[in-house]
């Protein structure tokens, strides 16, 4: 049995995808736009990178294909939607905790003092 911590650290791309899906099911293009908006344009996903990450996450059981669809006239039926799994939520949470600890450590060593003073 692998614990959620066994999956961390996640690649930034994977973490961002999990964050987007935690807010609701989405298709590929929506994930691209959402991560771009979330990171203020810093993370611009290209389709290849996105779907390879989605493949990895699916294989690791952190996300799955979703059966849910919006009402037909809202969108193209053929699009594939992705949803986060329970395991995915745990891993994302574990990753967030790991990052929070890192920030704590940085703060303790006074690295952020200068930054936060601004």
């Amino acid at each position: 049995m692998i614990t959620p911590q066994g999956y961390t650290p996640l690649r930034p791309v994977e973490f961002q995808i999990l964050l987007v899906l935690a807010g609701g099911d989405a298709h590929g293009y929506a994930i691209i736009r959402e991560t771009e908006a979330r990171t203020g344009g810093e993370l611009k996903l290209e389709p290849g990178t996105l779907y390879r990450a989605l493949q990895r996450l699916t294989q690791e059981g952190l996300i799955r294909e979703s059966n849910r669809r919006p009402v037909p006239e809202m969108d193209d039926q053929r699009r594939r939607y992705f949803a986060i799994t329970a395991a995915g939520r745990k891993v994302a949470a574990a990753e967030a905790r790991r990052m929070a600890r890192l920030v704590e450590e940085a703060r303790a060593s006074d690295l952020l003092g200068e930054l936060e003073a601004r």
């Binding site: 293009y29 290209e46 290849g48 990178t49 779907y51 493949q55 699916t58 294989q59 059981g61």
Partner: protein
């Protein structure tokens, strides 16, 4: 989420689908539809939000995405496979898309193919070397040119948020773009709210003295407050001038350029706070610009503009204006607002501002400017060469595939599947492309170095060109494209090979060989067509270049040496002091051995650059807003014997003489164009004009002579009206010595320098050059473009000839049986020769017809680069056709002779 679906970009999706072939099959099968959908959405989104201009960058990103991820995915597969084989467990539950077993066989057989491909290439080292080399030349040339294009056209400018920087020009329909006057600029700055900052700049050369070192000339940029904010580039050390320092009377501060700082202070940061002496005035160094920052116009240092607006008129245009668009403002808004401001100024100051409006130009467009067209021409030409390379390599591959039909048939008979055979051909192609690409990248490095070395100096930004990651991605993708192009034909041929027929009849008779032959004929036709287009381009440029060189300069620059001396206002405050210096200097230089004549000139003949001044003719109404006439003329200042020194003929009146001194009646010479334009029916000699206030008697000058027109607006421009004032009556602070000497320019420069030093050790002699060399610079760009296009055209015709030769030899060998029969039946060597050559010419004729159609379309794009020759110049067509025929004749003669020597007995016995 997707309520805003955009139209599907069909062509783009089609291309993307092809790119997706790079991914391994499993991944492709699972995600192709999603990838394509996502791609289409993004493509449409980018086009909607950023316009088609953003698409090249988008494609590059897409290409990089596909290539890197396809490679990674394939590596991942191999890794998974290796882990599986070692019996190590996959840490994550695999979804079992495809079994380990099929993957193992797939990998094994792929590896086999790769090795087999390499072996078969090694078996034919000559063939492989030729193909790799031809490919390398094509890929290398394309990569080199692309790198230049990338550096100049595509790469963003090295400033902060460069997309928001613009230049603002005054614009008059009769004159074109013009720099701005100080009052206009200040009004622009006051009244706009589209720019976060707007700055006026003006560059002049100054003399840097002091610190016990040799005096040098530097380019000083006077910039108004906010210049560094506009560029988004703060000084690397110290600070930029403050607003308070940009006031009349203040402003004795300076920011040093990086290279001047290195040169004068050895890169010591304590330079900030010290003073330097420029044109005899002390300036405090307050900052150092970052390395590479040299705007505007190769500036060595920057100082506040600090000018008093009351001393400048609205048509005293000297400020180049740059602005930074406020957050969210667009070019269109800026243009609209500037037009509005200029309309108000026009109403308020009709005397000076009638017909003047403003133009907002993105800085990138401004910088790239004239380099764009030649570059795109290069890119097109080199692309054509690559296409010909593809056709040629495809030809070679086809010939080999046909020759190997037997081998392939045997392998098929032994159980190799059709897919497997196809894959073999593909791995061979992959090897060739990979090697060709690798060698091509090396060639590209040299090609780019050569390109940079031979480019005329005025091409912007080329020094930043290098074979970087983008260029490598480009090289990789064109290699891929090339492979697809030339690998396709043999693959098709292999997949259609009829095994039974091939085995039964032997390779040479297989019907597929005939089909291959037809395909090869088609390839040769397209090669000839492409080469023809390139030859036409080169031919037109050659004609245009010859015409340019034929232009009559109107004077004789040979044997004339020039150099420049400037006088600082601090030590030479008035006209008298300046004239005394220059007069004595010319006397001393005239006395040097070997010197025939010496003259002084504010601007060198043939190179333009004189100031434009508006003038009034005595007895005629002054140009007013009502007539909305622009009446101005290029003014140069020259000493008495300039016309003799450079051999400009006088066509009326007299030249400037020693009598035309400061106190004497004020006189002026006009050129022929000026005389014709303003006095078409009268004699201009004796007429009076003024550049000053017509009410003031002292401002009037009498025309005493008319001199012959000389080139003054570039070789391809019309001559503009021009006047020449006597130097003694208008002594300049800076002048060129124009010296006609028997020989020994180097000694002359040294001697002149000694004379200048002897008169004033603080002065600098600079811009030493032979006048003929300076004029040669006028044809540097056309010569360069011609040279590059000619090289490509030569490569194209050579490749086409090689292709033709290959096909002809092959067809002769193929048809030796038929030829033998014909000869046995009484055909002479002559008829065989004619038939074979005729066959070659048929292919060329078809190619030439297609090529002519192509060149008629494409030469129109060249029209603006041509001079004195029409884009459909019949003589160029004839010339190109002759060249083509000769090359074709040679290429088909050898195989034809071989055919005519066929011994019918030998052939018939073989049958």
């Amino acid at each position: 989420m997707g309520g805003d679906r955009l139209p599907i970009p069909r062509t783009a999706v089609w291309v993307y689908r092809i790119l997706l072939l790079a991914y391994p099959r499993g991944f492709r099968k699972a995600y192709r539809r999603d990838l394509v959908e996502t791609f289409a959405d993004r493509f449409a989104g980018v086009r909607r939000d950023h316009g088609t201009r953003a698409l090249p960058a988008f494609w590059l990103r897409t290409l990089r995405d596909v290539l890197t991820n396809a490679v990674s995915e394939r590596l991942d597969q191999v890794r998974r496979l290796v882990t599986a084989r070692r019996g190590g467990g996959n840490p994550a539950p695999h979804n079992g898309q495809y079994t380990t077993h099929t993957k193992a066989t797939l990998m094994d057989s792929l590896w086999q193919d790769v090795r087999y491909g390499f072996r078969s290439l090694r078996r034919n080292p000559g063939f492989s070397a030729v193909v790799v080399l031809v490919l390398a030349v094509g890929i290398g040339a394309n990569t080199a040119i692309f790198s230049a294009v990338n550096a100049i056209l595509l790469r963003p400018l090295p400033y902060g948020e460069p997309d928001r920087i613009v230049m603002v020009w005054g614009f008059n329909p009769g004159i074109g773009r013009e720099v701005a006057s100080l009052p206009d600029f200040l009004d622009w700055r006051e009244q706009n709210d589209v720019f976060s900052d707007l700055a006026g700049t003006s560059v002049r050369t100054m003399t840097l003295t002091g610190r016990g070192e040799e005096a040098i000339r530097v380019r000083g940029a006077q910039v108004s407050d906010g210049f560094f904010r506009v560029m988004g580039v703060p000084p690397a050390i110290g600070r930029a001038p403050a607003a308070a320092e940009d006031q009349p009377g203040a402003g004795q501060v300076v920011v040093l350029g990086h290279s001047l700082w290195q040169q004068r202070f050895g890169g010591d940061s304590s330079a900030v706070g010290q003073t330097i002496e420029l044109d005899g005035t002390d300036y405090a160094v307050i900052g150092i610009a970052p390395s590479g920052f040299v705007v505007p116009r190769d500036a060595d240092l920057w100082m506040p503009l600090a000018l008093d607006v009351n001393q400048y008129g609205r048509r005293g245009d000297f400020l180049a204006v740059v602005g930074r668009l406020r957050e969210g403002a667009t070019f269109e808004e800026a243009q609209t607002q500037m037009t509005g401001i200029m309309a108000r100024l026009e109403e308020e100051y009709p005397q000076t501002n009638t017909d003047w409006t403003a133009q907002v130009v993105p800085l990138h467009e401004q910088v790239v400017g004239e380099a764009r067209l030649p570059l795109l021409v290069f890119l097109g030409a080199v692309g054509f060469v690559l296409l010909i390379v593809c056709a040629n390599v495809a030809n070679l591959m086809l010939a080999r595939a046909a020759a190997r039909t037997n081998e392939i048939a045997i392998r098929a008979a032994l159980g190799a599947g059709r897919g497997r055979l196809l894959r073999q051909v593909c791995t061979e192609t992959a090897w060739l492309v990979a090697l060709g690409g690798a060698v091509g990248i090396v060639l590209a490095r040299f090609g780019l170095d050569a390109l940079v070395a031979f480019t005329p100096a005025d091409v912007p930004r080329l020094d930043g060109a290098s074979i970087d990651a983008t260029a490598l991605v480009f090289a990789a993708s064109i290699s891929l494209g090339t492979g697809l192009l030339f690998g396709l034909a043999p693959a098709v041929l292999v997949s259609r090979t009829d095994i039974n027929a091939a085995l039964k009849q032997g390779a040479r008779r297989a019907t597929d060989a005939v089909r291959g032959f037809r395909l090869r004929g088609a390839l040769v036709v397209s090669e000839v067509a492409l080469a023809m287009v390139l030859l036409m381009g080169a031919g037109l440029m050659l004609r245009s270049f010859i015409e340019l060189q034929r232009v009559d300069l109107g004077f004789a620059p040979e044997g004339v040496m020039t150099m420049r001396v400037s006088l600082p206002r601090s030590t030479y405050p008035d006209s008298d002091a300046r004239w005394r210096f220059y007069d004595r200097l010319t006397e001393r230089v005239a006395a040097l051995p070997g010197v025939e004549e010496v003259a002084l000139a504010s601007d060198l003949p043939g190179l333009g650059g004189g100031a434009y001044l508006s003038f009034v003719i005595e007895g005629r109404p002054p140009p007013t807003a009502a007539t909305s006439m622009v009446q101005d003329v290029q003014v140069t200042v020259a000493s008495a014997n300039l016309t003799e020194t450079v051999r400009i003929p006088m066509v009326g009146g007299r030249g400037i003489s020693e009598r035309d001194r400061a106190g004497a009646p004020r006189v002026v010479l006009v050129n022929e164009t000026m005389a014709r334009q303003y006095w078409p029916t009268e004699d201009p000699v004796g007429q009076r004009i003024t550049f000053g206030d017509p009410q003031e008697e002292a401002s009037w000058r009498t025309i005493v002579g008319v001199y012959g027109d000389i080139v003054n607006e570039g070789l391809d421009g019309e001559t503009y009206p021009e006047v020449s004032l006597p130097f003694a009556q208008a002594p300049q602070t800076s002048a060129s010595l124009v010296i006609r000497a028997e020989s020994g320019f180097a000694g002359l420069i040294a001697a002149t320098r000694r004379e200048v030093r002897a008169m004033d050790p603080n002065l600098v002699v600079f811009d030493e050059a032979a006048l003929a060399d300076l004029l040669g610079g006028l044809i540097a760009q056309p010569r360069f473009v011609l040279a590059v296009v000619a090289i490509f055209a030569a490569a194209a015709i050579l490749l086409a000839a090689v292709g033709l030769y290959g096909v002809m030899s092959y067809s002769v060998a193929e048809r030796s049986g038929e030829i033998g029969v014909r000869m046995a039946l009484g055909a002479t060597q002559g008829t065989v020769l004619r038939r074979v050559i005729g066959h070659g010419f048929l292919m060329v004729a078809i190619g030439a017809v297609l090529g002519t159609a192509g060149s008629l379309i494409i030469s129109r794009l060249l029209a603006s680069m041509l001079f004195g020759v029409s884009p459909s110049d019949p003589w160029t067509f004839v010339g190109v056709f002759v060249v083509l025929s000769v090359v074709v004749g040679v290429a088909s003669y050898i195989p034809a002779v071989r055919a005519s020597r066929v011994d019918p007995m030998v052939v018939l016995r073989e049958e």
